[in-house]
């Protein structure tokens, strides 16, 4: 690949990636064996960006390269994401989430069996907030989707791993205690999560 083309593809990759890309991986994707060449192309890109005072920069972080915003505009980025940071969950969503956390992977029908009500609205909220994801399909009739929790789930609840969750048996209700009635899934949180408030 010729230099201009290589630089252009590099720019594309550094833009689109959601994690730092090591030189080795860039070589593989670009089909280029000369890591030194990739390195100097990145340097060129860096100085191109700097010389036109672009508001985006190419950073070398621990494991690799990635585009990032410059600190000058941090206030605006924070403002953009301000609404997103607050995460309020309805009790229906929380109950659904705890069922998934303890019983994963499981299907929607299995969650509904436990909760005794439809959970599609709660599930949609959890998917939207990336607390839950599809982890595969169950090999039964219809191959229903299987759900599990995400790394975001752990981060949000301050857990290092799933094993940090208390054993489910510790929540066994005392005989007298009735479980609270299943609450309506509240739609409120959807709008606030969406920055444009669509």
């Amino acid at each position: 690949m010729e230099n201009t083309e290589l630089k252009s593809v590099l720019e594309t990759l550094l833009f689109i990636t959601d994690r730092p890309l090591p030189i080795g991986q860039l070589c593989k994707v670009l089909g280029e064996s000369d890591a030194g060449r990739i390195g100097s192309m990145i340097d060129e890109l860096k100085s191109d960006y700097a010389s036109r005072s672009a508001s985006v920069q190419i950073l070398e972080i621990a494991e690799g390269f990635q585009m990032a915003t410059r600190p000058e505009h941090a206030a605006f980025v924070r403002k953009l994401y301000a609404d997103k940071m607050t995460l309020k969950l309805s009790s229906a969503a929380l109950e659904t989430l705890s069922i998934i956390a303890y019983k994963q992977p499981l299907t929607r029908a299995e969650i509904e069996q436990i909760r005794g009500v439809e959970v599609i609205a709660a599930l949609e909220t959890l998917l939207e907030k990336r607390l839950v994801r599809v982890v595969g399909r169950k090999e039964t009739v219809g191959r229903p989707l299987l759900y599990g929790t995400t790394p975001e789930f752990l981060r949000h609840f301050g857990l290092k791993s799933l094993s940090e969750m208390p054993p489910i048996e510790s929540f066994r209700p005392s005989p007298a205690q009735d479980p609270p009635p299943a609450a309506e899934p509240a739609e409120a949180s959807l709008a606030s999560q969406n920055p444009e408030g669509a």
Binding site: R19, Q25, V135
Partner: protein
């Protein structure tokens, strides 16, 4: 009636409904949606239903409801026309209206598909990654069934069946894979080449479905009602340099 083929755990995911089948038959026979020959369509519709039962496919209740609607319309056309006003809504008109309505959305779906194809090469930060590729039969179930029907029609009539004769599905799966060993694809019909017995043909068909489900082969059709081809599925090339999203179906946001 019990299904002809029993005890096989082959399940075809059927997301198509009775309206899809009717629209398929209308297109296949080049009929006018506003002027459907009701006897012909009813007979064909019922024969597909029988075939689906023979294959032990899960036939949704809606299929049976529509079957009885069709027979009701057919019965009406045989009666001398009377004051139809008293009999409430004309079931034929209702059915045509439903078909026309649904047909619009089927065309709109094609519009969407073409759009997605045009924009498939533009990526955004935050474009979702798909860890579990949507499994789609690239051809319709009814296209498969239509071809199967042709094969069955050509085969010898059922009189030759030997009671208790067995056609293990595994044998048929091996046979199909064997056919594909020396070439990249075969015609769908070629799979049934040396089969003469109804049960053997049905079993062969189920074997094919199973292989599709196991992603050992895939079916392709270039254009509506064109010949169906069965391809061997190559082992996926190692995703060199790819980010492993196995544990990362969702993206982390800032």
């Amino acid at each position: 009636m019990t299904p002809v083929v029993k005890d096989y755990e082959v399940h075809l995911e059927m997301f198509e409904g009775p309206l899809d089948l009717l629209l398929f038959l209308i297109k296949k026979n080049d009929l006018d949606i506003y002027d459907i020959p009701i006897s012909q369509i009813t007979q064909e519709y019922l024969s597909y239903l029988d075939l689906m039962k023979d294959l032990n496919l899960e036939v949704a209740g809606e299929f049976l409801v529509l079957a009885s609607t069709l027979m009701q319309i057919k019965a009406r056309t045989l009666l001398p026309s009377q004051d139809s006003e008293e009999e409430g809504p004309d079931p034929r008109e209702e059915l045509v209206a439903k078909l026309v309505e649904y047909q619009k959305y089927k065309e709109a779906a094609k519009f969407l598909e073409a759009r997605a194809e045009r924009f498939k090469d533009v990526f955004y930060r935050g474009s979702p990654h798909f860890s579990d590729e949507e499994k789609t039969l690239s051809i319709g179930v009814f296209d498969l069934l239509a071809t199967l029907r042709e094969v069955l029609d050509r085969a010898e009539e059922g009189g030759m069946e030997v009671a208790g004769e067995e056609f293990p599905i595994e044998d048929k799966m091996r046979k199909i894979l064997h056919l594909l060993e020396s070439r990249p694809y075969v015609f769908f019909k070629d799979i049934f080449q040396d089969e003469r017995k109804r049960l053997a043909i049905l079993t062969c068909f189920l074997a094919l479905l199973e292989l599709i489900k196991l992603q050992k082969v895939f079916a392709r059709q270039d254009g509506p009602f064109a010949e169906i081809l069965i391809y061997r599925k190559e082992a996926p090339a190692s995703a060199e340099g790819g980010i492993d999203h196995g544990e990362h179906g969702t993206q982390e946001r800032p």
